[in-house]
Amino acid sequence: MAETATAKPIEKRVVLDLDRCIGCKSCMAACFYGHQEMHGVEFVDIGPALLPVVCRQCADPACVETCPAEAMVRDAEGVVARAMFHCRSCGSCVRACPFGVLSLEKVGHQIAKCDLCQDRLGRGLEPRCVAVCPTRALRFATVAEIEADGLTILGGRVAGEHPIRRRL
């Protein structure tokens, strides 16, 4: 199924600075309550930090291509998001996503998905997990912006001052 919007992919990403995360789970709570108590994002303990497994906002999203109901779309802002009422909970997108960021949520035939808090992007605000992070470990930025701060970015998702050594 073709994309229903022709917008360019959004350039900014939610990136975790491994040197600043204190594992407080404020991001988890913000995501949970900000999405009406539905888990949109899984959070994985990766040792020195708590990593939100957010949507990678792929340039060529497999979830959009595979969705039979046009429930997965790239909107005008370039965010790959879920159109709530169209979702039939078939699970195709969950299986198609190569990064495992989608989860099956059976309530109301909805697939839980990170949408970068679209309601906030429209108000010029950052996603909730980024806004609430007390240490600015989570940032909503482009790769160029992260690297301009002297951080090394890995896989477009995590960053740190040093490629190997952790902590400030």
Binding site: A30, R136, L168
Partner: protein, 538 residues
């Protein structure tokens, strides 16, 4: 942000989270006709809101919330007119010479003062309930003559001594600590904590002290420059004072979550060290209004909660506090069962309210305006986050219905110091067990255990063990275990933690079955102190 600027931000009207004394501003956004979500907008340079603060909006609309006044008895539940219930409450207290009122300390100070005045009008004793470690920290520091600051001022530090696992208990405070470190990457950040938790990961030097009295001993070693009594691991402590002395703006941040007598001793040592270094002190408490509650109580002639429960009254009014979860649960349960007339006023049901014969609804503290004292010199006015449900009064309105009046709290005078008396390490065999706070549950857990996110993240009590201790007990990560202590036993889930020292264990503070294991007695100095336990397979 300087201290004066941080005080300016406290004076700006905002709703405030009082689930710790950072006092973060809280906002909501309307998501539907009858639906509100927390709104996360950095406010005047402020950091954000931790998970605990995010729970507030859910609590406001909780399905189990108390909405009407009712009486239990005769196998039924009888709904009452609120005015009649308030009058019955007042009469129950007036009709006996043995009456008392216990109020949760996290209401605004003027509500607490009104409770005190009401208690006097019905000739009842009264007390404010705050966690014992908070009370010990306040009593140990308030009259010590320190220079106090709020967490926002930490950003200006050029040397920091952090006492306690600050990032775990007060995650938002980490914002200013890391801001200070970002400004001055070479500044010393020295961490003393009973667990080598996440705070120690960010330290330039850290020392894991023995739980209980060990922290006070460690601070004393920093002061004296002589750490020989603490063993070879503590050798580095001898040079810490010099590092702090060289700084222009040294600061001591103290979050004491273990022990009551131990915290008094710790507070005394921190105060002495701060004066010697000319360092500012930032105390971090579990209750946002711990300072305000205790100053209001002192000015209003309040007794102690344990003094009231040690000699249970005939009639007891409890406002908002789950005293049975908060203190020594078994001892308190025994005390409450001797109370002839128990009345509960509050927003949510809990262990204490379920014993009450008469229950009245009340708005949460965040559903009304008021003022709190987050720390010395840190008075914060706050606005309601949301209006309470229709028909649910504030505590002040209930007191007015019962014949009480409005009172302005006196929070100007420091609380009188208590004597510091450190307990030694408990004797006997087994692991040394302490309570573990986390950034998910609040205090005794009576509020957050009812909320969906904390339930999902920490649904059961957790026991943090060193891997070697787990192995020795035939346990592993994720397995069920039983801890047996002086007060009883509890089933827990094991989490092996590389930061946990051998011979010691930490168990979730937010579950009353864990607190029962400790067997603390009312009116003794052992509240919240470590005990020896046996750990085995469930």
């Amino acid at each position: 942000m300087s201290s004066s600027a941080s005080n300016e931000s406290l004076r700006a009207p905002a709703s405030r989270c009082l689930l710790c004394n950072v006092g973060c501003p809280v906002r909501v956004m309307r998501a539907g006709p009858d639906q509100y979500l927390p709104d996360y907008v950095p406010h005047a340079g402020y950091a954000g809101l931790c998970g605990r603060g995010s729970v507030l909006v859910e609590l406001a609309d909780h399905p189990d919330r108390i909405h009407d006044a009712h009486r239990h008895g005769g196998g039924g539940r009888e709904v009452l007119d609120l005015r009649a219930a308030a009058a019955e409450m007042a009469e129950a207290l007036r009709s006996t010479d043995s009456a008392a009122v216990i109020v949760d300390g996290n209401w605004d100070v003027d509500t607490l003062a009104a409770v005190g005045a009401f208690a006097k009008s019905v000739r009842a004793k009264w007390a404010v309930s705050v966690p014992p470690n908070d009370e010990a920290l306040v009593r140990g520091l308030d009259s010590a003559g320190c220079r106090f600051i709020g967490p926002e001022a930490i950003e200006q530090a050029d040397a920091l001594l952090l006492v306690g696992d600050v990032f775990a208990t007060h995650p938002v405070a980490a914002h200013w600590i890391l801001e200070a470190k970002t400004r001055q990457p070479r500044m010393p950040v020295l961490v003393l904590a009973a667990s080598a938790g996440v705070t120690a990961d960010f330290a330039s030097a850290s020392f894991q002290a023995a739980p209980g009295a060990g922290l006070a001993a460690a601070v004393a070693a920093v002061r004296s420059g002589n750490a020989s009594a603490l063993g070879p691991r503590a050798k580095g402590l001898a040079g810490w004072k010099d590092q702090l002395k060289k700084a222009k703006q040294p600061m001591i941040v103290v979050a004491a979550d273990t022990g009551c007598a131990s915290v008094l001793a710790l507070a005394a040592e921190v105060a002495h060290l701060a004066k010697e270094l000319n360092a500012a002190v930032c105390p971090l408490t579990t209750y946002g209004n711990a300072w305000g509650a205790l100053r209001t109580a002192a000015a209003g002639g309040a007794a102690g909660v344990e003094d009231i429960l040690k000699d249970p009254p005939e009639a007891l009014l409890v406002i908002g506090a789950d005293v049975e979860s908060a203190l020594a649960p078994q001892a308190v349960a025994s005390a409450l069962s001797s109370v002839l007339t128990l009345v509960y006023v509050g927003p949510m049901p809990n262990r204490t309210s379920r014993r009450a014969g008469l229950v009245l609804p009340a708005a949460f503290a965040f559903e009304q305006s008021g003022r709190a004292l987050l720390g010395p010199g840190r008075e914060a006015a706050f606005e309601p986050l949301l209006a309470p449900p229709a028909g649910v009064p504030t505590v002040r309105e209930i007191l007015a219905l019962a014949g009480g009046g409005a009172v302005k709290a006196d929070i100007a005078s420091p609380v009188a110091a208590a004597t510091a008396r450190a307990n030694g390490e408990p004797k006997g065999e087994g692991l040394l067990l302490v309570l573990a706070n986390d950034p998910v549950h609040f205090a005794d857990g009576s509020l957050t255990r009812e909320a969906r996110w904390p339930q999902a993240v920490i649904p059961r009590p957790v026991l943090l063990l060193a891997e070697e201790d787990a192995e020795a007990a035939g346990l592993a990560d994720g397995r069920r275990a039983v801890i047996q202590g002086p007060g009883g036993r509890a089933e827990v889930e094991v989490v092996t933690d590389a930061a946990q020292a051998r011979g010691q264990a930490r168990a979730s503070a937010a579950f009353p079955e864990v607190r029962d294991v400790f067997g603390w007695k009312l009116g003794t100095a052992d509240a919240y102190e470590p005990v020896r336990v046996q750990v085995g397979k469930a």
